[in-house]
């Protein structure tokens, strides 16, 4: 956004401005409140929660619920805490993001700079694949993963996330590369650079911003996925979202709300961190990807 568009031409009076600030702050509280409540209650002993006020700050702050959520809470049959599931998520998310981003970059490069007959149709098919309700692929995917021996494994989940991540990754890189002057590619061709050399020497060095966007997007989506995790994670490859849900929904024993909250925050932490560190790019990428389609 250029500096010129930052200032708006609309002039507002003092009363209007006060009203605007009140509304904006009200919504800021609305968005912050649930997370704030989770945070303060995750630091209380259980007795303080059941007896007291959810809005009150902890009287005896304790990190015990966090420790329990991480390593001892009963999830499923074993009291392992979130730790192993968190590890599953990391093992799944890192390769899936890396592979889908690389494929997306190459696809975007090809679809904009090496155009061929029917490329738009192919891209349209990829684009639509981003939006399908995944229920439509659950049954055959379960069978194929079984046939490949990948059911209930992290590798199986990586495969699933790569396949359904290609569309968005391609969309981002295609939109970005479309604005990149094709003359540069022609010039490099005349200079004697081939397909991979042009990609490596000309396109990749300027792809930083979109790569960040794509990585954040894929990371958030794959980390937060629940449907594929619960369908194909089996017992050994469940990601942290599924574990969190199992923990919270478990009907046995006392509901340890403080542990639930600590676990929820733990499960949200990686995406929140990524968002805090690189949120600006994230937003910009969402615009590029969604507004422009």
């Amino acid at each position: 956004m250029s500096a010129a568009t930052q200032d708006t031409a609309v002039r507002t009076g003092r009363i209007t401005r006060t009203f605007i600030y009140v509304v904006l702050i009200f919504f800021a509280l609305f968005y912050l409140l649930p997370f704030f409540i989770m945070m303060i209650n995750s630091l209380k002993p259980l007795s303080e929660i059941t007896a007291g006020n959810m809005m009150a700050l902890p009287k005896e702050p304790t990190l015990a619920p966090w420790g329990a959520a991480w390593s001892t809470a009963q999830i499923g049959v074993e009291a392992t805490g979130l730790k192993p599931y968190f590890l599953n998520s990391i093992l799944m998310v890192v390769p899936a993001v890396a592979i889908s981003t690389v494929l997306g970059a190459l696809n975007g490069y090809i679809l904009t700079k090496w155009r061929f007959r029917g490329d738009t149709v192919l891209f349209g098919l990829m684009l639509f694949s981003c939006f399908i309700p995944f229920q439509i692929v659950l049954i055959p995917m379960a069978r194929i993963l079984g046939m490949l021996g990948l059911a209930g494994s992290v590798q199986g989940l990586i495969l699933v996330h790569v396949v359904y991540g290609i569309g968005f990754a391609t969309l981002y890189f295609r939109n970005y590369y479309a604005a990149f002057p094709t003359e540069l590619v022609k010039s490099a061709m005349i200079d004697g650079a081939g397909f991979f050399r042009i990609f490596w020497r000309i396109m990749l060095p300027v792809s930083g911003p979109i790569a960040v966007v794509c990585i954040i997007w894929q990371f958030t989506n794959i980390w937060n996925d629940f449907l594929f995790g619960v369908s194909f994670g089996g017992l050994n490859a469940q990601p942290v979202t599924v574990a969190l849900n199992n923990l919270v929904q478990s009907s046995t024993g006392v509901k340890e709300y403080n542990v639930h909250f600590a676990a929820a925050i733990l499960a949200a932490l990686p995406t929140l961190l990524v968002y805090i560190v690189a949120g600006r790019y994230f937003v910009r990428g969402l615009m590029a990807g969604s507004v422009k389609g």
Binding site: K186, S187, M189, I190, R197, I202
Partner: protein, 372 residues
């Protein structure tokens, strides 16, 4: 055989033919300009010479080698693009040596050539900068430098000056011309600017709708346009094209027009011949360049056949060195280009002097020039 030979070349997208049977020979050291309005096929033709677009029919050869199926990098050409196409992530020096690096030329030689060309173009202080830090004119120089270090058989320029402001464009035009004279390289240059075409080229191919309308030296193109398209496209203000009737006046051919008041008037032609006489009594288009219509004092002293034309002036536009005077002839606006102190005034009758040596006639049906 010529240095760059374009033989019977066509280009189609699907069933649509966009370039029709183009034949152009370029000799070594020639400066050929392809000029025409947008969509005329000039850039397509240039891209085909570069190898960036496939050739549908015919052959293109460079330095006695058919290059139809040769990869762009193996054609020994260099290209300067409209956007300059400088790699944003590389320094100026890296930009200029990238091609040599791709061709496996050893580093000392690359450095030496880079230094030579940088000196020639006076861009040595810029070599370590990134393209984003350069002005438009500097980028243009770097783009040319990148082409020069390749030492190619043919230079291809794709509208290289169109992104510059007016003053810089004129300066760079002169510079390119000097460079050509100094280095004697073979150049194919695409532009939509007819002044660039006339000033730079040794030969011009005027293109329209996928056809080469006329191929010739700047003088041939300007003085003897092959058809009404070339006549109106080349030259500014463009040639006056006036509906007239070819008649005989005391045994000599003349064009009969009407003045602003609707009264007939005749302008005797300088030429005569079989071709012209076959149009006797028929409608023709009389083409006269604005600078061939002046006041008596401004007329070309060496002209053989100056005709006087009295007509009412409709508008005068002083433009500093010249004054453009508009009148109505045969229902069309006709522009005359006069010296600044010519005394024509709006709504007054003025005595114009027309240099009929420079007049050409066109067939209104075919729009082709009528040969004598």
């Amino acid at each position: 055989m010529s240095f760059l030979n374009i033989d019977n070349v066509t280009k189609s997208y699907g069933n649509v033919e966009v370039l029709h049977r183009v034949d152009i020979d370029v000799q070594e050291g020639e400066f050929l300009v392809l000029v025409g309005p947008s969509g005329c096929g000039k850039s397509t033709l240039l891209n085909m010479i570069a190898g960036l677009e496939n050739i549908t029919g015919g052959t293109i050869s460079i330095n006695n080698r058919v290059v139809n199926d040769v990869h762009p990098s193996k054609r020994n050409i260099a290209m300067v693009f409209q956007s300059y196409a400088l790699y944003p992530n590389m320094t100026v020096g890296q930009n200029m040596t990238f091609g040599m690096e791709m061709h496996g030329i050893p580093k000392p030689e690359r450095e030496r050539k880079l230094a030579d060309v940088a000196k020639l173009l006076q861009i040595t202080p810029l070599l370590d900068r990134k393209p984003g830090q350069l002005s438009g004119g500097q980028r243009q120089r770097v783009a040319m430098g990148r082409a020069l270090v390749r030492d190619p058989d043919v230079f291809l320029f794709d509208e290289p000056l169109s992104n510059l402001d007016a003053k810089l464009r004129v300066d760079m035009r002169t510079e390119i011309k000097k460079l050509h004279q100094k280095l004697g390289t073979t150049i194919v240059y695409v532009t939509h600017d007819q002044i660039e075409a006339l000033t730079l080229s040794t030969r011009i191919a005027v293109m329209n709708k996928g056809y080469v309308q006329q191929l010739g030296t700047p003088k041939e193109i300007y003085d003897d346009p092959a058809n009404m398209f070339v006549a109106s496209f080349m030259g500014s203000p463009s040639m006056n094209l006036l509906p007239a009737r070819l008649v005989e006046d005391n045994g000599q051919l003349a064009a009969e027009l009407t003045d602003a008041g609707g009264t007939g008037l005749r302008l005797r032609l300088s030429q005569d011949g079989q071709g012209l006489r076959s149009h006797l009594g028929k409608d023709v288009i009389l083409g006269v360049r604005p600078e061939a219509i002046t006041d008596a004092e401004g007329a070309d002293k060496r002209a053989q056949n100056l005709q006087i034309l009295r007509n009412e002036v409709s508008v005068t536009e002083p433009a500093g060195s010249d004054t453009f005077v508009t009148m109505s002839l045969s229902g069309k606006d006709c522009v005359a280009r006069m010296r600044a102190d010519a005394e024509a005034r709006p709504h007054e009758v003025f005595e114009f002097t027309v240099n009929m040596d420079k007049a050409v006639l066109f067939d209104p049906q075919t729009e082709e020039r009528i040969d004598r």
